[in-house]
Subunit: 339 residues, 2 copies
């Protein structure tokens, strides 16, 4: 409908209709939000309002809290913040499945811990192998191939593996409210990053499709890489040696190394994100820091201070002391998963 | 002038004028390029045409060589490719000036090499100190402060220091044709990155202003960082320990670590860029690899196979064998600097 036609039609309307239209327009304007609701899976309340208020302030050129687009950096933890992390980190399932897939080439694993424990699903023996055992598993399953080969392995696994509780692909177990939040921030000029303790090359193959986050905006833990020539072509070999652990105090380091600017907003769910939120909050100007608190046994899981996976203890205390936003998953989220 | 007015005026023109206008329009259309020239400081010829042809192919949706925007990654070396590197890497001038600035706090340097050599401008003694001496200078001048403090130091130096030959700020000594190339690529949907052997935190403070490249798109060498609390606030300390050397075989590693995608175009000038260009060229689909050959003693410098700074030897052979584009600075560049 052209402007002119619209004016003609408006002129023909009866008075009560015109008053009604005027009121409707007034309500829309005074509500100050654009329709449709950018966060439909978030229940109305303080948590949702704190997000919207922050985004409105930093994008409003007349606000003292305005932040130019190039400085609108937002960092997100992955495990427990964007997708589930129970009953263990999903990359752990990947590593165990890799051990099983590689076992025929390693007959000695039948008698060798920690591999024996995985092949026999003996979680007690696996726990006894401790951190050293886990490191051995990670190195065996994540190194000794080219970056291209590892990408294919990770993609194939994600295409076929299923979560034991939900019996769905792991990439289905992402939080719908967080997907909406990522989109809402990007629509408002934010650059969204993953800053996760998980392996960077494990996340990059699917982060763009699932979260809309391109490979160059994924920061994570890594093994060392080495350039080699293979049949006259350069390849990058993944070495069985840790290069960087992007967790806890490593997260601000990862942010500085890979992004080089301090985020103005950071989102996490565990003590592994504590320093990232502190680092973000300590910058000048408006800041937004949010923790996802897992409180929903029925639809997801409930865990915090006592959990061995995704423990949320010190960061929860600091959130309460400093007034950081805490999502009560049960109360604040209308919907958990996209399915 | 509205469309309608234009038609009326066209109707009033005499026939020869109308034929002339028609011919002019035909020429513009058949030339197939949008005015104005996107690379005005590049002389017409094969080098300029190879760039334009590549950009047109990867951005033309009907071309078999079309590349979607998210894969249009272009990486640029810095020293000798975007700005000068003679008579030594500019970061070397920075380090030497830092030694001089810090000398009053270190009276022992008067008798201690390699510092003594710098304080006495004794280049022979400095050369004798070798790589170990250089490493000591770098660590002394680039570590032991917070990331924020180092940023200020680097910015202050760049604001005041001058190049010995041109007597201008170092950030003036950037190549005008390369600035145009960066802009041309970005205008065509490319994401432009610096991938340099130089220190990442030395480049980030000015790369956005000078090159239009934001901090998160600067990849470089780095020292290890450590999170510490200072007066209750988190800071990142720069440790006197190398974290990553982004040079030679380190460049494809840096690209994978920090970008996570293979570039489709790479630009360098020395053997330190050789592997970056090989890595770029070895990908599938259309590729563009370019070397800047310093051939202009008058306006800049001429050096290649024998130079200790920015040696171009093996990469030049490979460029000739594989048909990589080589810029002959003297011949191909109408103008060297923006001033």
């Amino acid at each position: 409908m052209s402007n002119r036609n619209f004016q003609i039609r408006l002129g023909r309307m009866n008075t009560s209709l015109r008053i009604g239209l005027f009121l409707l327009v007034s309500i829309v304007i005074s509500a100050g939000v654009a329709f449709p609701d950018p966060l439909p899976s978030w229940n109305e309340g303080q948590t949702k309002q704190s997000i919207i208020k922050f985004v409105q302030a930093v994008t409003d050129k007349s606000s003292p809290n305005y932040v130019p687009p190039e400085l609108r950096i937002a960092t997100f933890d992955n495990d427990g913040t964007l997708w589930c992390e129970q009953p263990m980190y999903f990359q752990g399932f990947f590593a165990f499945d890799r051990v099983k897939a590689l076992a025929p080439q390693h007959p000695e694993w039948k008698e060798k811990q920690p591999f024996k424990a995985i092949l026999e699903n003996d979680m007690k023996a696996l726990a006894a192998a401790g951190e050293k055992g886990m490191a051995e598993i990670i190195m065996t399953t994540h190194a000794g191939m080219t970056t291209g080969e590892f990408e294919k392995i990770a993609k194939n696994w994600l295409a076929t593996a299923k979560h034991p509780r939900f019996e769905r692909p792991f990439t289905d177990l992402v939080y719908q409210p967080m997907l909406e939040l990522l989109g809402y921030l990007r629509k408002n000029g934010f650059k969204t990053y993953i800053v996760s303790g998980g392996g960077v090359e494990f996340m990059r193959p699917w982060a763009e499709k699932v979260y809309g986050i391109p490979p160059e905006q994924v920061v994570g833990s890594s093994v060392k890489l080495k350039l080699e020539m293979r049949d006259g072509k350069p390849v990058l070999m993944r070495l069985p040696e840790i290069d960087f652990i992007d967790d806890g105090p490593g997260k601000p380091v990862g942010i500085q190394k890979f992004i080089g600017r301090r985020p103005i907003a950071a989102f996490g769910n565990s003590d592994g994100d504590h320093q990232m939120l502190q680092w973000t909050a300590a910058g000048e100007g408006p800041r937004f820091t949010l923790l996802v608190h897992h409180t929903d046994t029925e639809r997801e899981w409930a865990y915090d201070r006592q959990s061995s996976i995704g423990r949320l203890d010190k960061a929860l205390d600091e959130a309460q002391n400093r007034g950081w936003t805490v999502v009560d998953m049960k109360k604040d989220w209308k919907k958990i998963f996209p399915f």
